[in-house]
Subunit: 232 residues, 2 copies
């Protein structure tokens, strides 16, 4: 497999960074080809803006999704976007590795979604979910948290983590058609002993060893919905 | 009331920008004091990083939340963060106005959460939800979408929009203790006639006229949870 790891932590010595390195070394040893986009190291620009288009279809009014489609067709998107899109299209497995900020991804990673998941290329019209253009690719979300796992149980104060991550798991990765695997979490990380952190990495290595055989999460299927996308 | 509008759209002529202007003019005419942070116009930097701290408690290892607490105490946070924190602390009503990108806020606004909602100042330990430090302030999310409202019905393909927005409504605004009002949506905006857009603005003006009397959404209460934050 071609594996693309998008890593979004500001501290190279962090446990989160160790998770990215663990994924790269473990999957590399299995013979997979590894590409890493270390967003902080790259000084990735997360802001979707007019400067993303070297030539504009409409210079007087910016409709971002429309300019994405035109810019891809004419290959005039900003070079940093083009490079990431090429990596994404070549990937068989996408790993998003980040610390949870406000029950979501850090802004630097949110801007990777906003700028790289191009309209027309990764979704468009009824090309979404099981009809999404990135069908056949797998996606794994790996994330570190300050909170304890029981805060995210069904009776925990924040509610289930899968619900909080629905905009990413379903609304982003599932939306573009990817097979979304069960996320891997490192809970309570800032408060753990080195041994406990080591156990998480060991569990992650084990998980990665069988990653290509996993059954993905269930996503909406267009077959279950009518022309207006209401359930039939 | 002091009203703080955080606006996050790249196109000043957009309908989303018209919503921000409508909020400012309508609430201004009611006698409220209006402050607008137009994140694109400000070239707001959304990336939480080491440069946010003019002096570091630990220069060798960046623990972002810890440096936020120290930086606030010593008033050595980056000036752009300090300015936004002051605006937030002075606000009685916070309006977040943005186009929905990937079922969430654009990265430029996500980074406002990441950098401005300081650890120790807006949350910390068990100071969250109804014990949150920003208790007494109201928050309103106003957002424009390409999708139709029926795609977000209980039987719509994406599921309920309130669930998709839970990380923001509960996990961010509710978490810091704010009274979170029912969001205001402009659905299907790119495909609407001028008349239909005008109707949304009219409905928004009407909504704003009674904004100070609204009942907020229900959020978790620490009273319903034990010391480990599991339901009692």
């Amino acid at each position: 497999m071609n594996v693309l790891i998008i890593h979004a932590h500001h501290e190279p010595q962090s446990f989160c960074s160790a998770m990215a390195e663990t994924a790269a070394s473990t999957l590399g040893q299995q013979g997979h080809h590894i590409t890493i986009s270390d967003l902080y190291a790259m000084s990735w620009n997360p802001v979707a803006s007019a400067t993303d288009f070297q030539s504009r279809d409409n210079p007087d009014y910016l409709t971002y999704a429309l300019e994405q489609r035109k810019g891809w067709a004419s290959q005039t998107l900003a070079p940093d976007i083009m490079a990431e899109v090429e990596k994404l299209l070549a990937a068989d497995l996408l790993i998003l590795n980040f610390p949870l900020y406000w029950f979501s991804v850090p802004a630097i990673l949110k801007g990777w979604f906003d700028r790289v998941l191009l309209s027309g290329v990764t979704y468009g019209g009824k090309r979404l979910y099981d009809h999404g253009p990135l069908k056949g690719k797998k996606a794994l979300l790996t994330c570190t948290l300050g909170g304890r796992d029981d805060m995210f149980a069904h009776d925990g104060i924040h509610g289930e983590i899968e619900t909080l991550l629905k905009p990413i798991l379903q609304g982003t990765l599932g939306y573009v058609g990817m097979d979304v695997l069960t996320p891997f979490f490192g809970f309570h990380v800032p408060y753990l002993s080195d041994d406990a952190r080591g156990e998480i990495l060991t569990a992650y290595v084990k998980r990665l060893s069988g990653i290509s055989q996993e059954t993905p999460l269930k996503m909406p299927s267009l077959n279950d919905y009518d022309d207006t996308l209401r359930k039939t």
